[in-house]
Symmetry: C2
Subunit: 221 residues, 2 copies
Amino acid sequence: MARSAHTAPGTAGTTPASDAGEAGSGGLRERKKRATRQALQQAAVRLFREHGPGAVTVEDICAGADVSPRTFFNYFTSKEEVLVPWDRDTIDSTSTRVLERPPEEEPLEVARAVLGEAIGTAMNGPTWRDQAVVLRHHPELIEKIVTSFRTLEASLAEGFAARLGRTTEDVYVRLLSATTITTLRVSVQSWQDSESDESLRHYLDETFERLRQGLRPNELG
Amino acid sequence: MARSAHTAPGTAGTTPASDAGEAGSGGLRERKKRATRQALQQAAVRLFREHGPGAVTVEDICAGADVSPRTFFNYFTSKEEVLVPWDRDTIDSTSTRVLERPPEEEPLEVARAVLGEAIGTAMNGPTWRDQAVVLRHHPELIEKIVTSFRTLEASLAEGFAARLGRTTEDVYVRLLSATTITTLRVSVQSWQDSESDESLRHYLDETFERLRQGLRPNELG
DNA sequence: CAGATCGGTGCAGCGACTGCAAAAATGCAA
DNA sequence: TTGCATTTTTGCAGTCGCTGCACCGATCTG
C-alpha cells in the first residue's frame, strides 16, 4: 500500500546502519516483528492454497500463526495483501535503479532490466511459489493487490521522471511506467499459464520486443 | 463484473426485438428496472461527490433512491461499482466492433478507434461528469473498479483473437489488449488532470502515437 | 533499576455483503 | 376481471473484514 493507515509496526525507520543483508540483524524487537510478519504471511498463503482464499478467515490465519486476530491488521491492511510479491524495499529502490542504468540505454530497455530485477527478487522470496499457485488458481485476487502494482508503477515513474528531466505527471512518463508494468503483468501471467518450461525471462524478452516494435503484428509466433 | 454472482435482475435476456435505441422501450418491468438502477447510480454518485465515498453508506444511497438496502445488491456487486463508466452493452459489443474495423487497419489503430468509441459512449452517460469528478478526487477508487477494465480488456482480446486468427491466450493478443486498455486509462487520467481544455481525443492520439513508435523518447513534448 | 517506547491483545462497534424465504409487482391467458 | 406463473423487492439474520481505543507486558535506553 502506498501509505498505510496504521502505525505499521514494520515500516517506520529502517534499522540504523542496517546491512542490506538478510541475517537476523537489528534488535530483538526488529527480529520478532519480522518473524511475526513472516509467520502470518506463510500461514495465510498456505491456507489460501489449501482451502481457497474464500474459505479462509483472518481468524484462521491468525490461529495458524499463533497471534491475535487484531494483530494481523498491524501488518497487512487487507486479507489479500499477503499475496503481494514485492516488499517495500524493492518498491522504493526501483526509482533509483532506473537512474543507475547506463545513460545511453533506451527507456524500454531500462524498464525491462529494472522490472526483471524486481520480479527476480520476488521469486527468491520464501512464499513466491505458493503465492504464484494461489494467484494462478484465483485470478480475481490480482485485482485485490492491484494497489501494489500501482506503487511500483509510481516508483518507476519517479525514476523515469528524474532520468528524463520531466515530471511524474508528464504523459510520456506516465505512459511508459503504466504500460511497462502492464507488460510485466502479462509476461508473468503468460509464463504461469504456459505448460512449457520456458523461463520468465523468455516471456519478458518477447513482450518487450513487441512493445519496442510498436505492437505491430509481424513475423514471430 | 464479468459474471455477477446474483440472479442479476437486469441481464438475463435482452428485450426481444429491442431496438438498440434509447427510449423507454420494453415492457413495464424493463423500464422500472432501468429506472431503479439509474436512481441508485445517480443517488450514489451524487452522495459520493458531496460527502466523499467513505462517508456514504449503502443505506444512505438507498434512502436517496427510495429502495430497500437489500435491493442495492441486486444491481451492483459492490458500493463502488456505481462508478463504472461503461455498461454491459458497451463491453459486449467491443469484441464485434474490433472485427468490424477495416481489414487493412493495424491493430493499434483498431484499438484506438474502438476504445475511443467506448469512452465516447461513456461520456454521453448521465453520470459521467460526476463520476469523473469523484474518481479524480479519490483515485484510490479506481482500484475498486479495476475489474470493469478487465472485462473490457477481455472483450477486446476476444475481438483481436478472432480478427488475427489467434487465441485469447496468445501472448501478443494479451499484450495488445492489456497495454491499449492501460493506454486508455493513462489518457483519461492525463486529460482529467490537465488544466487545459484539450480534448480527450488529443490525449488518445498522443499516447497511441507514442505506443506506435515503440515508446521511444523522441521529438514531441 | 526507572522510565520511555513499542508491539500484542481484547473489546466494542461499524458497515459491506450474502442466503433465504415471504411479500409485492408484473405479465399473461382464460 | 380473475387466477396463475414469473420476476423483483424486501426484511431478517448472520458472517466477516476492518478500525479505534485503551491496556498490558516486553523491549530498549540511560
